[in-house]
Symmetry: C2
Subunit: 903 residues, 2 copies
């Protein structure tokens, strides 16, 4: 925070301005209808029958009971009613509130106590300076920017400095800072005001954590669905953004940022960019899919498989009850596999890896662009206050260590001295927390893996059971796969919620010092757990399923007599594709519909029902139009963007990680996101209390996670293509073994021979429909034939194909990484026009201040002229006298600025 | 550049201060012995006999001839002598100089014309403000910091602002800004002063480029080898840093930065960190080498090779003239190979990959730390002026396009408007330059490759020729390898110089707009060319040599009858190691000794000789002690850090890229760098003119190149271990083929059989010493034996070993990359103590300014008291009145700052 920035709204307290003529606006103003409400504090008040009888002198409160969840109500004027009865805890809390509020007023805020609640208002000259110093503000020189300003026009801006106030184009002092900025100033003061009674804690967050206040939130701008023509930003947002009806429109990012602050603005900007980037990848994904459909008839291997003349007698799929089978019966899956297992997917996955890089690069650019237009370029990380939980922990530690004396020392010190070495939590103090974290995360991951294994066991056993029954045998595979995937999906959904709560709990145990570290660690933990949860069944199918089967004659068994599961004859890719699509679609549909739409609706309904069953004395009050702070209080509190980001990041994983096996993923993601944008928008506009406007330059750790997924996707896709798909074996066959350079004979080449007489005793098919003439059955593997000197060993083909697969992984990975670096390097992080504009703006400012400096020097060199002016308060008179000339100056910067930046 | 920074050295022109008592210092002062010389402009003056007779009125110059290379000399006072004779070009230049100097004086600089040269001096109040606005200055609050301040103590600093001047702890106005800062201010003014006569060019650089001035440089602080006790920074640097005698000492980085500026300071800081990071890697490298020496006796394969009882009769190494040979004759190389080809090198190369990451991370941290202590955190990129060449090109374009009118338009406009769209070089204008660049670079790379190929041909033919002669046959390999490597080295050294010049020429053709882009592109091009030049023979030996030999019976021939060269029986690793060590050592020794020590000495000698043979009228002047600007003018001009960085970066490549094959590389690099640091230091202190102090936050593109090499080294090392060394085949043999889990029999396993009768006609050995009983000869490859159904095809072993090699590459690459990311992630880029201090400093500043603000408000609220004070010039009186209280305030910040930051 730069101490030079001193915003001052001069003459703010002079009540010469006419009261706002519109009566409606009074709902957002103090009772004098002039001063705007910037922030609301709410707290619970519990009514008791007993009269404890000790009132702090000079305090008098009107207490009106409205049940246990009622709110304390304060009369506007002093000295009405006697102190009501309070129990000890409540009394303690009331005193803490009183002190805190007193400190707030000393800091210059203005408070008004509503019958229901308090409002806090920025005002008073010292307070304004104080708050202004606390804030890094970049105020636009012209506040009356059209709401949907085009991005090509920008006002020259400079951090607000009280000393240079006459240079700014301040048209109306009341609107010079917008509502978000005002509430940010108030929030900053609330965060920094100490309350010595409450263990010397700093700020409103600690007081809320200690239940002294219930909530603190800024006000919404008005109602979003008011019938009249009067427009406020919230209503505008609702109409232009937060409805499904406008899904095709661009988002009004600048307005979102103005209303909700930069952090939420960046989220929606990111979501918008991501969604628009999904469009080209969807188109190409569909083309790749259609290419698969179009070439299905020309695919020689699947034709060969479907050809009944090539009677490949396959070894039985299970012991005893399964018969030999003809490969042509798997014709369907083979043909379906071709849809996703064709050369086009290789190029598509290269494309998607570069797409991810391009997306991240473009996000960096958009972020820079927004940062420039939102004047975020200068903000730096601030020192954050410790979290209340951290402070409590430190206090406990001190208590334990050195008894009462240390606490006294702590209380004697100012809170800033908390940061001495002995008052910190050392690694030793944190060790139990870290250990718990480590152990829990390991346990959770083990739990996920064991559930995946459980599903595998379910599949194996059910398949075995079903194949015993002749009636169900025909569609064993479909039944088992479908039910298993659905079980997986349900487990993922349930664990997702559990893991979210566990991650929060674990992060609390860790007691991070600041809110920022708390958020980062929470995100990392939650991401790790949810990622493992969502992807482990998919990883299993992609890389492990069917690889530990053994071979006929020496199968691998789990438990007793259950053979490890194999992939379908068309390869595991088809199954991977099914798994991916069901989990991705199911997760999105169910999470969107149930968790994001259904649950909030239910909660609302529940609250409504509860309100109706509690008819209190407040009924008469309710008959009058509720104040805005009442309306806002009834909304859900804002709890951060983490769930929104998390959902999108997991989706980004589906889109990039396994795109080689499921080219339609971008399409589904696109469809989901078009809805998601409006769903989130609606939630923010209509269902949540207004969040504090948080200034931030970037999306923080999410970017690192995204770029990590992008890099991980390269190696995953390399392995999917090399190992899971049949791409490499076909290539090898075509160029090394094929007689005529085509794929004719490929199927035969991939099947090894097995001498039926070598089947272990008791595993032969019991009732074979095949004649006894079957001497050799075939299985999919590269092994030496029974007549070779070393039968059933891996053949030379196996090793050469494996070499080719691995070589492909190396080439693919390094090629794609190189291309990504190239793309990264070729796209500059800062758009050229923005960097040019920043430089131009800087030199304009230099010129402007130089001119101002020269004029000052001129004035100083003419002392005679100045001595005629008033002697005292020369500073003020000077500022005033320079105001007229100053009035022309800002005009000139503003215009010259826009001249140069109207590119 | 932040326009709020207004440094002012008050009352600078009041000559009340006593003249500097030390007479010595006058050599760095104006003739009044008071005003310090900050900058020197030099130009050539050519004496002519003809009197052209038109003198610009009001100008009078004293011209004293001192030969063709003499300098124009100006008398201090006006109106002494008539205008001397000048030819047309010289006249034009003189006028341009006059105008430029006039503009400089208008900008407030003070000039004094020496008999020999000019000095330019910062002075005058407007100029100071002007220059101060142009500079982002972070002035220490206490200027009298002990020279070798420890890094744990730091003064609270804030960009200089004239309005808050009374807050700074200004003890002496003359020394408040140090020499480097002063000359930076002057340089900035020189860069920004226009000269309308010289085609409206901006700044001194264009004038130098147009030969109007010869040079412009700031002054050194004095002589470095003066015998007296008087100390200046240069002498201190010489004694404590720029001598080989102090090679063991840490570098006085803060002093280097103070004297040479941040850019050069960062270079030496980087070089120092790199050198100190080489220490652990050298130690481990030596340990790895010693491990190789210690285990040489236990190495079973080399023992088997040396065992004469295992008579492996090898196929002849050349046609006809070569005989069969016994493998035991290659015992020596096999044993030597083991020194570098043992499992320890695998771990060493993993270590070195992580070492590179650690080094880069630590550099980032050191950079942040230095940036904090040097107050660089706030500086941002500035808009740079176009290069003179760019401006010329644009002017030419306009001339061609729209004739004279456009040029008039251009001249009418201010230079800032140059940046309109039509006045830019478009892609179309640049296309020929880019094409030329692309073609030339391709040609250069092709040239390098063909030279490498030429050396290969030399090796093949010479080997063939030598083996014809019986006398030379015994040491063919040694002779050929040694001469070839020396040829390679010489070619590399020559091409290195050529490529440096070519890269410069190509970048000039490209006409980049700013100095910064020029430098970046030059570096990239030079790096590309020099990298390819230095490494292509090494890459050939590592990955290509001996891989295209064919097999006995079907060798690959180049030209007629020359077989492709094979590696020595111990593997190519030994040869790679020799190649690496000779090129690395030779390059360093020769470049250091000849190019960095020898050539400058020769140049100096040459200049001295030339001076002696030219006895001019200046001789009497020479008898007096030369002024500092004369001494400095005789030094070499500073031409940038690129060659220094380039040498180190190429060395970094040797240390990281092939470290798997040459673990001693870090040791050699360390030895070289210990000398290199002092060599460079000596050059800067004693042999170069003082460079402009350039402020910069980081080492720029070099960091990207370093991190690129670091990443590249991972895959290169993976391939060296997997493909070049015998590590993987041994592992495969040990775990898959060996009967008892040892390496016994490994040598036999790697040798294939060849049926001698299948040798092509005319290629059999002519005079075989072996009896005719030889039926099979052996060769190193995995191929089917002659008695197999498909003789001489690659065997199953070949494919399984290949699979293992490739799998190793994948595992190694991804493991090391993952570990690198982990290291990168675990080491925060900003050291915690620094980020804490930055935050604390910020909050201290906030508190401090808040207090100041409060006091101001208090003063404003007591108008009666203030009205008694003087009426006019209230601003000044106020500043003065607050000075006493201000004097205590900065003390208090400074002390409270140090209290908190003295960690």
């Amino acid at each position: 925070m730069d101490p030079e920035h001193l915003p001052v709204i001069n003459n703010y307290l002079d009540a010469n301005e006419p009261p706002s003529s519109e009566a409606r606006l009074s709902r957002m103003h103090f009772h004098d209808n002039q001063r705007k409400v910037d922030y609301v504090l709410a707290y619970h008040y519990r009514k008791r029958g007993a009269h404890l009888g000790h009132g702090s002198p000079g305090h008098s409160l009107a207490v009106i009971s409205n049940g246990e969840t009622g709110k304390e109500r304060h009369g506007g004027g002093p000295g009405d009613v006697e102190l009501g009865p309070l129990d000890a805890l409540e009394e303690e809390r009331r005193e803490q509130r009183d002190e805190f509020e007193h400190n707030l007023m000393a800091a210059g805020l203005e408070l008004e106590k509503d019958l229901e609640m308090y409002e806090i208002k920025a005002g008073g000259s010292i307070a304004k300076k104080f708050s202004a110093i606390l804030q890094t503000l970049s105020s636009p020189l012209q506040p009356r920017v059209p709401e949907h300003s085009n991005n090509r026009m920008k006002n020259l801006s400079y951090p607000f400095s009280r000393e240079k106030m006459y240079l700014y184009n301040i048209q109306e002092k009341d609107t010079f800072f917008d509502n978000a900025t005002r509430s940010r100033i108030v929030h900053e003061i609330l965060k920094r005001t100490a309350c010595s009674r409450a263990n010397n804690t700093m700020g409103i967050n600690s007081l809320i954590a200690n239940n002294i206040y219930e909530a603190a939130y800024p006000l919404h701008d008005g109602e979003y669905d008011s019938p009249g023509d009067d427009m406020n930003d919230r209503k505008l947002l609702y109409q232009e953004w937060a409805r499904y009806g406008v899904f095709y429109k661009f988002q009004p990012i600048d307005l979102i940022r103005k209303y909700f602050g930069e952090k939420i603005g960046l989220y929606f900007a990111w979501l918008g960019l991501y969604t628009s980037f999904l469009i080209p990848s969807s188109v190409i994904g569909v083309i790749v899919f259609l290419y698969g459909c179009a070439t299905i008839e020309e695919d020689i291997p699947s034709k060969e498989m479907c050809d009944h003349q090539n009677a490949f007698t396959m070894c039985p799929l299970c012991d005893k009850s399964c018969d030999y089978w003809n490969l042509s019966s798997a014709c369907g899956t083979a043909r379906a596999s071709h849809l996703f297992d064709n050369p086009a997917t290789v190029f598509f996955s290269i494309f998607m890896a570069l797409w991810a890089t391009m997306f991240l690069e473009n996000w960096k650019r958009l972020q820079m662009r927004l940062g420039y237009f939102w004047d975020l370029t200068g903000i730096e990380e601030e020192e954050e206050h410790s979290r209340p939980e951290y402070e409590t922990k430190v206090r406990e530690k001190l208590l334990k260590e050195s008894g009462k004396s240390a606490v006294q020392k702590l209380e004697a010190n100012s809170p800033e001295d908390d940061e001495d070495d002995e008052d910190k939590l050392t690694w030793k103090d944190r060790f139990p927390g870290y250990l718990m974290n480590f152990a829990s995360i390991l346990f959770m991951i083990a739990l996920t893996f064991s559930i995946v294994f459980g599903v595998i066991v379910y599949r194996i056993t059910t398949a075995a059971a079903l194949s015993l029954n002749k009636a169900t045998r025909s569609n064993v595979r479909v039944t088992v796969t479908a039910t298993a995937v659905i079980i997986n999906l349900v487990v993922i959904l349930i664990l997702d919620e559990i893991y979210g709560a566990v991650a929060k709990w674990l992060t609390k145990i860790e007691v991070p010092k600041t809110e920022q570290t708390f958020e980062e660690r929470l995100i990392l933990k939650a991401f790790l757990l949810k990622f493992v949860n969502a992807y482990s069944p998919i990883f299993y199918v992609a890389f492990f399923k069917g690889r530990f089967v053994g071979r006929p004659g020496s199968y691998v068994y789990v438990f007793d007599g259950y053979r490890m599961e194999e992939c379908a004859p068309g390869g595991c890719l088809m199954e991977l594709c099914i798994q991916l699509s069901i989990i991705m679609l199911g997760k999105q549909l169910i999470q969107n519909n149930i968790f994001e739409i259904g649950v909030p609706k239910l909660k609302k309904l529940f609250r409504k029902l509860k309100d109706e069953t509690e008819p209190g004395e407040s009924d008469p009050d309710h008959s009058k139009r509720p104040e805005q702070w009442d309306l806002d209080h009834s909304l859900e509190p804002y709890t951060g963007l983490t769930p929104e980001y998390m959902e999108m990041i997991i989706q980004f994983g589906f889109v990039t990680l396994f795109v080689a096996s499921f080219p339609l993923a971008p399409v589904f993601a696109l469809l989901n996101n078009v809805i998601e944008v409006r769903l989130d928008a609606k939630k923010f506009v209509t269902e949540l209390r207004r969040p504090d406007a948080v200034r931030t330059k970037d999306i923080g750790i999410w970017f690192d996670i995204l770029s990590g997924i992008g890099k991980f996707s390269v190696i995953i896709n390399a392995f999917v293509i090399a190992v899971t798909s049949d791409f490499i074996p076909r290539l090898v066959y075509q160029y090394s073994y094929s007689h005529n350079g085509t794929l004719h004979g490929f199927v035969n080449h991939t099947l090894s021979f097995f001498n039926v007489s070598q089947l272990k005793e008791g595993t032969q098919p019991e009732n074979s429909q095949f004649d006894q003439e079957v001497q050799f059955c075939r299985f999919k593997d590269y092994r030496e034939p029974p007549w070779a000197p070393n039968p059933y060993e891996f053949s030379k083909q196996y090793w050469s194909v494996l070499s080719a697969r691995l070589a492909f992984v190396i080439i693919f990975q390094n090629l794609v990484m190189f291309l990504s670096v190239l793309v990264d390097w070729m796209i500059p992080d800062i758009p050229t026009d923005i960097s040019d504009q920043i430089k131009k703006e800087k030199s304009l400012l230099v010129d402007f201040f130089l001119k101002e400096e020269h004029e000052k020097v001129k004035l100083a060199d003419e002392p005679t002229q100045r001595s005629q002016g008033g002697g005292d308060r020369s500073r003020r008179s000077r500022a005033a006298s320079s105001a007229p000339s100053g009035r022309s100056q800002p005009g000139s910067i503003a215009s010259s600025g826009s001249q140069h930046t109207n590119v």
